[in-house]
Amino acid sequence: MANTYTLIASNTLTSSTASVTFSGIPNTYTDLVLRASARGSNAGVNNAIRIYLNGSTSAIYSYIFIRGDGTSAISSLSSSTTNGWGEITNGDTSTSNTFGSFEIYIPSYSSSTNKPFSVDTASENNGTTAYRSAVANLFASTSVITSINIDANGTNWLSGSSFFLYGIKNS
């Protein structure tokens, strides 16, 4: 039987970089899952995550997120944005040698409809502030997803950050 959950590609950084891209994604799966363990160079306990599909910077993304930080909660909706949103992982003043984690799930990525995708994110910090978030994104494009770019929001992903792209087949 063919594998249901297959690693398509991975990237573990040995030096810092502004973004990580998976391109040439085959259209032979049903859904895509990208999992990451990441730390950014932002001079704070947090580092934001931007997501681009098919390299698009057109204002065709929208997102709804909820976030708790140990003190308060927030919900927000943004529409007609030029990037998808992955919320917050660890920044460079968070506990040393500590990486946050997130998962991006893109169902039916090769369908001819618009593409909803979900992000589940957690940062880790031995302090009074850490972040737990979820995001409902929409990429208003009917094109097949062939590339995913994970951007550190103007900073860099640090060495040791790792990114794994999986394909899931439903038959």
Binding site: I64, F65, T113
Partner: protein
């Protein structure tokens, strides 16, 4: 090596349908994952989930949601699990739901976790929820029903089995 994560069944609608059902679910896995991606044929469509065609008041739910700038929570005890607690399905926007159903064939009550993405660009909601199906019988069928209207062509529902060993 045994397969850990494998599709049990999938349905991709080529015509609209008022329900999507999974029957005769084997009891050979430890957990199930159910994914549902699609649209309805009209606005105001509220999908709901039932097990074993059980319509009794055996489904309790706790939701946390963000919609716009509002975050909120809710709790219910109903005869089904509502999928679209804050944002109904319509015929324009694609909704995405993912359920993890733990210990589905055990002789305990069954716990489920849901992620729901209902992004309508300028409106919509994000929901994370936990549910309890208060029945000791193994789950051998799943019904994805609707309050009205139908699931639209192209809607995909897939049931995966997950083995612990």
């Amino acid at each position: 090596m045994a397969t850990t994560y494998e599709p049990i069944a999938t349905t991709t609608l080529t015509s609209s349908a008022s329900s999507i059902d999974f029957n005769s679910i084997p009891n050979t896995y430890d957990d199930l994952r159910l994914t549902l991606v699609g649209k309805a044929t009209a606005v105001g469509t509220a999908p709901r989930l039932r097990f074993n065609n059980d319509t009794s008041l055996s489904y309790s739910s706790v939701y946390v949601s963000g919609y716009g700038s509002v975050y909120t929570q809710a709790q219910s005890n109903l005869s089904s699990i509502p999928l679209a607690w804050w944002t109904n399905w319509d015929n324009t926007y694609v909704h995405f739901h993912s359920f993890d159903i733990l210990g589905y064939s055990s002789s305990n009550y069954k716990t489920l976790f849901q992620i729901a993405n209902a992004n309508h660009i300028t409106t919509g909601s994000l929901v994370h929820s936990v549910h309890l199906y208060r029945n000791l019988s193994a789950i051998n069928s799943i019904q994805l029903q609707l309050n009205a209207n139908a699931y639209d062509v192209g809607t995909v529902a897939t049931l995966y089995g997950i083995k612990a060993a």
